[in-house]
Subunit: 288 residues, 2 copies
């Protein structure tokens, strides 16, 4: 079902890309990607053979690599890997292509890299009926990305155990997802999505200075809202801003924009028509 | 050189343990251990065929599994795996056996597990001459293990990218290692070691309630000090306590106790004879 493509990136010369069978093992038990979660990833949505946000994903991949002192990914090689992964996979409506770059087998200094194409779950019900969310403390102040860059806030790393643990905690509390807050009370992001909210004609998202990922889908959503006359801003967001919002969404590549209809058991307002129009936009290739 | 042993732990029945060649890949690109750093590990020191702290390591392994909602590791299976890894490896003075348990290939619900035996670096020079350390902010308050258990503080997870990033930051500052401090000023632990300090006849270490690992080597060091008439206590430790200490050590299974001779560029006191006696004790099998 899956088609991985494994570019062996030795970053000294143009690496060869080879197709591999994802049902057999490809990662060494000595790879720092598995022994230390020491690597980065991106998940790119492909619809009808197009990857509308690939530029933004490759830019963020490069930014994550820089934060982890990994060699700069060559966009040409990764584009080729994504194209090969797409073309090797049987045609489906929506495909996810995951890019992974690890620090490689310990002691070799040679990174390990692959792209993996896989079919996605169908999230259309979430987009229509919305999801229930709990707010959980992310433990960090909003400014740690500036004060303590070794905490890697803003990088999309393979060290995601906390995100998985937070999602399990949400499940225990009867919710579907999480919105992380900083230890000093700011709304940050979800474990795998950006937070967007509408107040009247203003669309807000927390700023990347608060140690969160620059959301590729959030950026495309802002284009949609700006074209419709909304004022779009990255500004500090508090919990009260969520509670008083006219709509709150979690935005990510594959699930797209899902309305948050409940926060910690209390209903939030939502707007089904606007959500539908937004998701129609997110499925399209950027006009450029 | 290495000998891994891969017990396929399906936790419903006693898993079969098989010997595998670590130079070939064994981990799937779909394994949550690599895609999310979602798993746990322990590194056990073996000297002269003995694993003196195996009980403490298996206890901590079980505690990490519980914090991550992973199935409880069967100590009998893991003992067998460690013994097999030890006996399959050519005899060396000091061997490290690494135990890994991941959440397994996504969607299967079947964990992946292996034990890997490998020779260790020679840390005798560090034990004699000591190491230079920088203090770095760990970003969390000292009490997050109690307030926010989904942050997994106190679990030894595969999501170690921050530890690696902190060690690179130490290198940039001309140091060898890191002592993490909480955002509210308490000394926590090193990326891969516990912190011990001596004030006169008292030996102190930060308490596990501060969201740090229960150090297996720290515990064995306390036995040594207690037998010599020192008062041993787990108590909150501040930076000033480090600066005023008669000795500071980082304690871990393989490197054992290394004296910290410099903190942020300023010299700390150390005691070579006491360090030598402590390390002689740590190499011995527990008398029980």
């Amino acid at each position: 079902m899956n088609s991985p493509v494994l570019p062996r990136d030795d970053s000294s010369s143009r690496p060869a890309i080879e197709i591999a069978d994802p049902t057999t093992p490809h990662v060494s038990v000595l790879d720092l990607g598995v022994t230390r979660g020491d690597g980065i990833f991106e998940t790119i949505m492909v619809t009808r053979g197009d990857a509308p946000a690939i530029d933004a994903h490759l830019a963020r991949f490069a930014s994550s690599a820089a934060l982890l002192d990994l060699p700069e990914p060559d966009p040409a090689v990764w584009r080729e890997a994504v194209a090969l992964a797409m073309s090797s996979h049987p045609t489906v409506d929506v495909l996810a292509v995951k890019l992974v770059l690890t620090r490689g087998v310990e002691g070799t200094g040679v990174p390990t890299a692959w792209a993996l194409a896989m079919p996605t779950k169908d999230f259309s019900a979430d987009r229509e009926t919305g999801i229930r969310v709990v707010a959980l403390d992310r433990g960090y102040r909003h400014d740690v990305a500036q004060t303590s860059p070794w905490l890697l806030q803003g990088a999309k790393t393979l060290s995601y155990a906390i995100n998985s643990a937070a999602l399990r905690e949400a499940g225990r509390r009867g919710a579907d997802d999480v919105i992380f807050t900083s230890s000093d009370g700011f709304v940050l992001e979800a474990p795998t999505a950006s937070v967007l909210l509408r107040h009247g004609d203003r669309i807000l998202t927390p700023p990347t200075e608060h140690g969160i990922l620059h959301g590729t889908t959030q950026r495309r959503a802002f284009e949609f809202f700006a074209a419709r006359g909304y004022v779009t801003r990255a500004l500090p967001v508090t919990r009260i801003d969520l509670e008083r919002a006219d709509a709150v969404w979690l935005a990510s590549s594959i699930r797209q924009a899902v309305p948050v209809v409940e926060l910690d058991g209390r209903p939030l307002q939502h707007d089904l028509e606007l959500t539908r129009a937004l998701n129609a936009h997110l499925s399209l290739r950027d006009r450029d």
